[in-house]
Symmetry: C2
Subunit: 351 residues, 2 copies
DNA sequence: CTGAAAGCGCTTACAG
DNA sequence: CTGAAAGCGCTTACAG
């Protein structure tokens, strides 16, 4: 008489109910829980015989280890907290994708959370992440004070982008924002533009300030300056870029080119320009900063300073993985250089 | 002699090290762990005196409950798994934002993960979410078979968007895709267009098929048809829309309007049109479906069928929250109706 | 190579 | 109102 496996499975199910735990597996396989755990974690050599029995039991019972219990017992949650500002930002989205990509390949799972450019929200979200005992933190830009970051880093490894600081147990990944502003300006100057307008970010935005500084320095190096009335603050979104552009146009000052401190504002600016009857690039050249996916598809395609946000995400995750595998995280500050991506929204000035 | 609080705090820190647990709090406050737990959870009345002592101890020790331990002991992780396809998709991004918005207000934390339109990836990610013992699942579109969804729903509450099914313990939230196609077509037909081109999605994409069907039905209701040679498949991204548009143009057939089955493809199509010297909307009208944020800022601004993805996200999260507070999740299938958002990319045909 | 035991940091009946 | 005890489902020294 042949053994009916289905019936055995059913009996097991009936006997143990839905709560198939490591305990259940051990009982069914006739070994101790320790042995099952060791097989699961590859943590010690186990004899072929028992291994077979255990693997068979796991398969039959459809056992899935409870990661929560593993976390508590093992002291690692296999989870990484990620703070961003808007989870659906087209720019930071690339970083998020990069993080997910390298983390998931390593069995870690990222927990993404948004700070909404509000320091109190950030603290709350970070608090929540800490209560969840994440093994590490990736902070893709933040309003937090340096000391708060330092404090976090004393509790767990953190990699932060968007600022250049050196703290123990913290790795900083930063764009050279001044360089981004500089090459944008140089590109326009090289095309013969002298009257530059700028759509900047909100005034409390550090990246924006640095980019603007880069622009001004580049322009001053050529011995002229930007008219302050041609610098208007946007909000880093399409709408703000649109409004800022209209404001600039309404000032009735002459300008032949405009730099928006991020691409989203450049999109809005282009629309405002078009509505005012100004052609891009024939009447005014526009350059953005970020080079998000969409920038290759605007009309005309946008010339932009590429900031490698995807690389930042990947790198941040890779750094954390390295730390977990034993490398020490050391007071490092990596600077990523921007590059110019010239498309069709900029043009040599016609005299 | 006055008590020096700082010294007390230091002594406590020295004595208990960094591992401030509920146990520590109990000891410092001179009560049992049960009492501390009750205060933390508001789970029973506690005398004012002890409450004061405990709260003071929590404050002084800077105690933060370990959510992992709470999860294991309490049987709830306060965490919701969210499966999406690309975490940085501009369309699903709105849903993600909606989910985060309502969940975080309720103390739950969403764990977002991407399936990349690959059913095996989806299974892996879902597996990982289940091992993490999420309390509920939100599936923003998926390639999974209905039976797999049914199986998941037998283990925990799930709300799924993108398909209309009725299962116990599952709530389905769906757009009326056929209606989306229909109103897009009707809008164009009402403007006098007869020769319509369509950029569809990949062939195995259900939403795309339904939208296309809606278009065809609307057109047939007016007693004419769409030339099959004017229907070309894209990939739901800008690039695919661009390529499809070029292909359509190269066919040398006459068409006065085009419907792209999502906005991203419409963006690419507009660029291809412009490069071919065709003006939007003067030479060809274009309408998209989705109405993502950016669509208001293309040149010209894109007429699109609005799909309320933000509402879907919010609603999905709210449904789960309701379930956790006792409402039963019942075999419901909600249909969300699309609406037309007319901007400047469509125009009455000039004869 | 393997098992018994203790422990991770909480929650929750069970008594009183 | 409050505490002692058991338990959540694992991992990991400690012995052998």
């Amino acid at each position: 008489m042949s053994v009916n496996l289905t019936n055995i499975d059913e009996r097991i199910t009936r006997e143990f109910g839905n709560q198939v735990t490591l305990q259940t597996v051990a009982r069914v396989a006739g070994v101790s829980p320790s042995t099952v755990s060791r097989i699961l974690n590859g943590t010690a050599n186990v004899s072929q015989g028992k291994r077979k029995l255990v693997e068979e039991a796991i398969r039959r019972l459809g056992f899935r280890p409870n990661q929560i219990a593993r976390s508590l017992a093992g002291g690692r949650t296999m989870t990484i907290g990620v703070l961003t500002q808007y989870i659906d930002s087209p720019f930071y989205g690339a970083g998020i994708r990069g993080i997910e990509e390298v983390l998931s390949g390593a069995g870690y799972i990222p927990i993404f959370t948004s700070g909404f450019w509000d320091i109190r929200q950030e603290r709350k979200r970070l608090q929540s992440l800490m209560e969840r005992r994440v093994d590490g933190l990736i902070i893709l830009t933040s309003r937090l004070h340096d000391e708060e970051l330092l404090k976090l880093a004393s509790r767990l490894p953190v990699v932060v982008s968007g600022r250049g600081i050196k703290f123990p147990n913290l790795h900083s990944l930063n764009f050279d924002n001044a360089a981004a502003g500089r090459i944008a300006a140089e590109h326009l100057v090289d095309l013969g533009h002298r009257d530059l307008a700028v759509i900047s970010g909100p005034h409390d935005h550090k990246d924006s300030d640095e980019r603007l500084r880069g622009i001004c320095l580049a322009v001053e190096a050529k011995n002229y300056a930007i008219n302050d009335s041609l610098i208007v603050a946007g909000d880093y979104n399409e709408h703000g870029g649109y409004r800022a552009m209209r404001q600039i146009i309404s000032r009735n000052l002459s300008f032949s080119a405009i730099i928006a401190l991020n691409d989203q504002m450049a999109f809005g600016a282009m629309l405002a320009l078009q509505q005012a009857g100004l052609r891009v690039p024939d009447d005014v050249s526009v350059v953005g900063i970020d080079d998000v996916t969409h920038s290759a598809f605007t009309i005309p395609p946008l010339t932009s300073v590429s900031l490698p946000m995807l690389s930042v995400g990947r790198r941040a995750a890779a750094i954390l993985l390295d730390v977990f595998s034993g490398y020490s995280l050391g007071e490092k500050c990596e600077i990523l250089e921007p590059t110019m991506t010239i498309r069709e929204s900029t043009h040599r000035i016609v005299v």
